[in-house]
């Protein structure tokens, strides 16, 4: 168990230090090295070694500077403090992480199903789209932290409320992306289906939905990381609610107890969960589009 946590922790620190140093380029870099598993070893080494050496260097400097200046741990913990905090609270951290993962996955699954379903309904009729879509946008613009307390009041503090908050935050990107995808089918193709007397549902299932797949998956990619954020925000507000507390809950507790090192560990774990979730969806996306869509064909 300890070993697993350490491995996760290392990955977390690596990923986050990458993200901190070069926020946007980090993700594509990871993506590429995952996507092309068949490449030669040399290529993998040349991709892994530079960021890894930056990571080792940053951790080393971080550790040494704090040691030399004697900065208090509660202000800024050393990497070794974080590792220690993880090993001391290993069990709690695993429980928190798995709780958050469950909530995020449920929230995401809900938003994926409903997002695509609602987009299909809106795409079937321009009138419905014009009358309903503005409200979807309004729903999106209300800050989630403003809605969250109401949801906790309605659904009780706990899993339900947290999943719904995760759902709300990840729903809109899937809805809007799917809708754009469904509406951007080539006119020629639509004409062809029309000329061959296709019904509306046939056109949706056999033409518009498959053609929208790249858009839908792009929505999934945005929403999967958002669902982790949503779950943590939900836990922040809904608290423990009879279940095991997730990462959001662990963060609030660690903050009130001034356990800064553990706070760092929680934050980094959240980042790892988000990144892993993204990589999984990205792999799924590549798998589905690999054979026919330009975005996924290995160049």
């Amino acid at each position: 168990m300890k070993g697993v946590v350490e491995v996760m922790e290392k990955a977390a620190v690596s990923a986050v230090s990458d993200a901190a140093n070069q926020a946007s380029p980090a993700a594509p870099m990871v993506r590429r090295s995952v996507g092309s598993g068949s490449h030669a070893w040399g290529k993998i080494v040349s991709r892994v070694v530079p960021p890894l050496s930056v990571f080792v260097f940053v951790v080393f400097v971080w550790e040494m500077v704090l040691r030399l200046t004697g900065t208090a741990e509660y202000l800024l913990p050393k990497p070794s403090d974080i590792v220690q905090a993880v090993s001391q609270n290993g069990h709690n951290l695993v429980v928190s992480v798995s709780t958050t993962i469950m909530e995020a996955v449920l929230g995401f699954a809900l938003s994926a199903i409903l997002g695509v379903a609602v987009a299909i309904l809106l795409a079937l009729s321009k009138t419905v789209e014009r009358s309903v879509y503005p409200y979807a946008i309004i729903l999106q613009t209300i800050p989630i932290v403003a809605i969250a307390p109401i949801i906790v009041i309605w659904f009780g503090a706990g899993m339900n409320a947290i999943v719904i908050i995760a759902f709300l935050i990840s729903f809109f990107p899937i809805l809007s992306n799917t809708l754009i995808g469904l509406n951007s089918t080539e006119q020629n193709m639509k004409n062809l289906f029309y000329l061959y007397n296709a019904t509306k549902m046939q056109t949706i299932w056999r033409l518009r939905l498959p053609a929208a797949l790249p858009y839908i998956l792009a929505g999934f990619k945005i929403s999967c990381s958002l669902s982790v954020v949503g779950a943590i925000v939900g836990e922040y507000i809904a608290g423990i609610g009879g279940l095991n507390g997730g990462l959001g809950y662990a963060i609030t507790v660690a903050a009130t107890r001034m356990q800064t090192a553990y706070l760092f560990a929680c934050g980094l774990s959240a980042a790892v969960v988000g990144i892993v979730f993204f990589l999984l969806i990205n792999a799924l996306s590549n798998r589905l589009l690999r054979s026919w869509h330009d975005s996924a064909i290995a160049g």
């Binding site: 007397n197 498959p210 797949l213 026919w292």
Partner: protein, 269 residues
């Protein structure tokens, strides 16, 4: 051969008494909402087994003609009958097929699934559909590619697949909108040969073929409908009396050159 020509005298070209008449256009005009006159005073009759090419520069209303016969737009004036009824009703009989300049193949579907798509939409069982798919793929020489995705094919092969899809069901009327416009000359000529072969084999199929290429029109047609723009109208209908089968030699005969010259003259008029 149906020799009916630009006969404004016949007020009912689509009347039930003439079953061999596939397309009848009587004083057809189309004005777009913005006031553009796409075509005016078009009179045309296409009978069974004809191969009619519409040739003309862009803006002459060729595509509008196609869209009206297909039922994508409606004429603003005149009488239009397809298979003895309105274009929309005619389409429901599943005896009309369409080929566009773009191959319009589904990029995610294997070739066999692509060519059988019209049957899938009609709810034909998979086994029957695939048998028919194999038949048309063989017809266009793509038998070995049934499990291939469109992106793995060349432009000419994609167009062949597109034609195979059009031929999938027993059809009476084949509408082709500049199908070979995006192909190189060599591929274009071999596809012309193949298309003529398929059409001759069928005997009864009527082809309406839109092109801006006079050579292509003369090579393929039984009659060439010459259209001129501003406003789009039929300037002449030229019967091509050369016998079938037409081979590459036909392209170099003086007869061929004479047809091309006379059509070009009408176009430049």
């Amino acid at each position: 051969m149906n020799t009916a020509q630009q006969t404004a005298a016949n007020p009912h070209p689509g009347s039930p008494g003439t079953p061999e008449l596939l397309v009848g256009m009587d004083q057809i005009g189309k004005v777009y909402p913005n006031g553009t006159i796409a075509v005016q005073q078009v009179n045309l009759r296409a009978g069974e087994g004809e191969f009619l090419c519409f040739v003309g520069p862009s803006g002459c209303g060729k595509s509008t003609m196609f869209n009206m016969i297909a039922g994508l737009t409606e004429p603003t004036t005149g009488q239009l009958s397809v298979l003895g009824t309105t274009p929309r009703e005619a389409r429901k009989q599943n005896e009309i097929a369409f080929v566009f300049q773009e191959h319009t193949l589904l990029p995610w579907a294997k070739l066999l699934d692509n060519v059988t798509m019209p049957l899938t939409l009609r709810g034909v069982p998979k086994k029957a559909r695939n048998e028919e798919g194999e038949r048309v793929l063989e017809l266009v020489g793509l038998k070995d590619y049934r499990k291939v995705l469109p992106r793995q094919l060349s432009g000419g092969m994609k167009m062949r697949a597109s034609i195979a899809r059009a031929l999938i069901a027993r059809l009476k009327l084949l509408l082709m909108d500049e199908p070979f416009g995006a192909l190189d000359e060599i591929t274009r000529q071999s596809l012309q040969d193949e298309l003529l072969g398929i059409w001759r084999q069928d005997q009864k199929m009527t082809v309406l073929f839109i092109t801006h290429n006079v050579f292509e029109a003369v090579f393929l047609s039984t009659r060439v409908v010459v259209m001129t723009p501003r406003p789009g109208k039929i300037s002449d209908i030229v019967p091509i009396e050369a016998p079938f089968p037409r081979t590459d030699e036909f392209r170099t005969t003086s007869e061929f050159g004479k047809y091309v010259r006379s059509i070009t003259e009408v176009l430049n008029h």
